[in-house]
Amino acid sequence: MAEILVLVDHVDGVVRKTTTELLTIARRLGEPSAVYFGTGVEGATETLGRFGAVKVYVVDDSDINGHLVTPKSEALVAIAEKVAPGAILVTSSSEGKEIAARAAVRLGSGLITDAVDVDADGVATQSVFAASYVVTAKVTHGTPIFTVKPNAATPEPAEVTPSVERVTVSYSAAATATTITDVSPRAKSGRPELTEAAIVVSGGRGVGGAEGFGVIEALADSLGAAVGASRAATDAGWYPHAFQVGQTGKTVSPTLYLASGISGAIQHRAGMQTSKTIVAVNKDAEAPIFELSDFGVVGDLFAVVPQLTDEVLKRKH
């Protein structure tokens, strides 16, 4: 069976859910091997094995951590050239897409980005033109490379004990030509990851200011949800850009999306309109967000949202 390479997305050895989704998809295509960059593989092997990674290739050197994306791409290419995999799966994050892009050039391989599904025949499904079309596509040349969006599959365990192989890579001069001179980690909110969350509660222009996001966060916490924001809110500096939902931010596809004070411009719709259920609160009855909403309340979000939060907390008990 063909070996399928899965690039592991992790934070200091804690494997992210997206990787377990990729391992699940990889088993449709062949036998998954995980590719692990950086320190902490000892803590990750158990999880990788639980979701079917037969092998774990590890590259852990100073270059892979000290430079921008390029060394990771070259390391992935080096492993792919060694094992001649049937396909390569990478998380569709900004870093993942860049690693895949560079690898596609080096390997002479076709690339499909932002897949929301990949079937056993290697046919990928994509959501395009602000999610107004569904496209299926296949790689026709070289080793197929897919970047896959979060929530593309339900992780299914398939316990194995992986063999771990350390790989040494020599990098090109260009790969190490950029240097990371400073890293400022973001404060952790303790809420679920925006792109992975089952419920997302978002605020927009109608929230009116940074302090207004308090009611959005309170509702999110009552539901165990992630917090998102429209571009109007992040551009105004009311909420960090990392939480922007939309064309130039994150694409989310939760089971429930709750939009407050968001008009629903195309830029925002592009990031959320594949959500299963959409609920909106807006002062303006003409706001386009209501055209997408399964349930909407025309009213002041500062009255409706806190009342909803109280109801949620009340009904939990």
Binding site: L68, S73, E98, A100, S109, T113, S132
Partner: protein, 259 residues
């Protein structure tokens, strides 16, 4: 300081975009425009030259005849010249072929830095800048939310999900910028008039030494099998808040077993 800015003419994202019979993006069906995300790259190039007090900006695009509009729009914001790679054989090129053509065009131009947008608003893959950097073997500093070019050094800030990172590289280099770099300027009337007189050079594949068989739909390394229009969402129940909007919303969420 010589800067090349990559620009793309795209179907307007605010219009009802669709596919042509060969399953490529239908450019004729809707109005085209300079990709909004490229305007941020134009702005950063203009600011870099303004700060340095000298410099030359060339815009490079690849696309059908109508793509010249994107060059004119960029030139109306400022800058000096345009280069348009146009050839019937380019129709349907994938990101790999696009990066090949743009890399070959860049080899014929003089530059210290190439500035790109973070993605196009039609394909939205966000991979062409990385592919060009890979092909040219120059440092790629991607997804900059701020950008400083001083002497022969470029420094960017990249705002990732887990951290904000400062990255430096030496010129020549390629940079891609996000919409966080700051609002792009509007062309002035004077700028629009001046743009009409700025030189735009047209290159074919032959001028770049590329074979038609290396690009276009038939040379693409991935193939679209089907396109299906997603049924539009149907609006559900919309109620006016009469003091119990939150309760009604909670009832709806409970009916969907969300609470």
């Amino acid at each position: 300081m010589k800067i090349v800015v990559l620009v793309k003419h795209v179907p307007d994202a605010a219009s009802d975009r669709s596919f042509a019979d060969d399953l490529t993006s239908d450019r004729a069906a809707v109005d085209g425009r300079l990709s909004e995300l490229d305007e941020y790259a134009v702005e950063q190039a203009l600011q870099t030259v303004e700060k340095a007090g000298e410099g030359e900006i060339t815009y490079l695009t690849m696309g059908p005849a109508s793509a010249a509009e994107a060059l004119r729009k960029a030139l109306s914001m400022g800058g000096d010249a345009g280069v348009h790679v146009v050839d019937d054989a380019l129709h349907g090129s994938d990101a790999l072929a696009t990066s090949l053509v743009l890399a070959e065009a860049l080899k014929k131009l003089e530059w210290d830095v190439v500035i790109c947008g973070m993605a196009s608003t039609d394909g939205t893959m966000s991979v062409v800048p990385a592919m060009i950097s890979e092909r040219l073997g120059v440092p790629g500093l991607t997804l900059a939310s701020s950008l400083i070019i001083e002497g022969s050094t470029v420094t960017i800030r990249r705002d990732g999900d887990d951290a904000s990172t400062t990255i430096t590289g030496s010129l020549p280099a390629l940079v891609s910028v996000t919409d966080q770099t700051g609002e792009a300027r509007y062309p002035s009337f004077k700028g629009i008039m001046a743009a009409k007189k700025k030189p735009v050079t047209t290159w074919t594949l032959g001028d770049l030494g590329l074979e038609p068989a290396a690009v276009g739909l038939s040379a693409a390394w991935s193939a679209v099998a089907s396109v299906t229009k997603r049924p539009p969402r149907v609006a559900g129940v919309i109620v006016a808040d009469e003091g119990d909007g939150g309760v009604k919303l909670a009832d709806f969420l409970a009916s969907g077993k969300f609470i």
